[in-house]
């Protein structure tokens, strides 16, 4: 068991170091920090309104950055290794293919977590200057964005095992966008749909898509509304189980693949 864990961590470490060198990662990170910083320029509002705008825009920018990271890091994670033939020496050893998938995923998530932590430091630092206290609720909200990124990255990893990185990336973006509007728009669209075929299609889409908008507590954080802890626990559990299932399915898909 310890031997397997060591193998998974070794694969994750290599993936993490590879991901750190990606240009798109650095550009996205710089732009998001710039977007968060630029909200402090809105000095013509009073402090209460400015804090609301800061929270709203910054959380939206961080969520967007998280989505980009999840897509970029997951879509090319394993196909890139197979195309460059660097996966073969690893897989030729006594490494389970499911462990390889898990290791690569954990490497991608380690990179995403580092980026999100950097953004959290900048955002929470600015917020602490305005509010004069550390906002634990916003820090918790950012943790849920990270869980959402983990779910999207798991889906991207699964797609990347069946299609090319470009198609996998596009499909993951599609899931990310549709998952964000699942409850707010798709639910209403099913009720409004006049044609039975359209309604059936929307219902199918609704059942398959992950509830990504449940991870967003932006409205609660901006308007200081209390969210029940039990609900947050359900959402966190949902996200973690979703990741576990998708990664298990990815492991099976990769194990059955003829390399």
């Amino acid at each position: 068991m310890m031997h397997r864990l060591r193998q998974i961590l070794a694969i994750a470490r290599v993936a993490y170091l590879e991901n750190l060198r990606k240009q798109v990662l650095q550009v996205t990170l710089i732009l998001t920090i710039a977007a968060i910083g630029s909200t402090t320029l809105l000095s013509f509002f009073d402090v209460g309104v400015q804090i609301k705008i800061l929270k709203d825009l910054s959380l939206a920018a961080i969520l967007f950055c998280g989505g980009v990271l999840a897509v970029v890091l997951s879509a090319g994670n394993i196909p890139g290794e197979i195309l460059s033939h660097t996966a073969y020496p690893v897989l030729a050893r006594a490494v389970r293919r499911s462990d390889y998938v898990l290791g690569r995923y954990l490497g991608a998530m380690a990179t995403a977590t580092l980026c999100m932590a950097l953004l959290a430091v900048v955002f929470l630092g600015i917020l602490a200057v305005y509010q004069k206290t550390f906002d634990w609720a916003v820090a918790l909200g950012m943790l849920f964005i990270l869980i959402e990124v983990a779910v999207v990255a798991a889906i991207g990893t699964l797609f990347s095992l069946f299609v090319s990185p470009l198609v996998a990336g596009t499909l993951t973006i599609g899931v990310f966008i549709l998952g964000q509007i699942k409850i707010s728009y798709l639910h209403g669209a099913i009720e409004r749909s006049a044609s039975p075929a359209g309604s059936l299609l929307l219902k199918g889409l609704y059942a398959v898509l992950p509830n990504l908008d449940c991870f967003s507590f932006k409205d609660a954080l901006v308007h200081n509304i209390a969210v029940p802890a039990s609900y947050m626990a359900i959402v966190a559990l949902y996200g973690l189980v979703y990741c576990a299932f998708i990664l298990s399915a990815s492991g099976i898909a990769f194990a059955r693949r003829d390399l």
């Binding site: 240009q23 798109v24 550009v27 996205t28 732009l31 998001t32 977007a35 709203d56 825009l57 959380l59 939206a60 920018a61 969520l63 967007f64 980009v68 389970r96 293919r97 499911s98 409850i183 707010s184 509830n211 908008d213 449940c214 507590f217 932006k218 409205d219 609660a220 308007h223 509304i225 969210v227 029940p228 609900y231 947050m232 359900i234 959402v235 559990l237 949902y238 189980v241 979703y242 576990a244 299932f245 298990s248 399915a249 492991g251 099976i252 194990a255 059955r256």
Partner: protein, 78 residues
Amino acid sequence: MKGFVRTVAVRAAAAAAALTLALGAPVASHEDHHHAPHHWESPEIRAQLTGQTGILLVAWVAAAAAGRLIARREKERC
């Protein structure tokens, strides 16, 4: 060097455009936030999430068992 600068500039422009669109959405939704019900207040969504988590948990256990079986067969073949 010129190619690198161009690549970075194009990527930065694309990311900036996407970020502008993404940031526009929350500003636009500020007006109607009072009318839309929050997801954490809806018992229907809570029940939906609980049900889906249960289904996913069962599916995960099944997938993990299948994965272990495949790994054992892989080992036997080797």
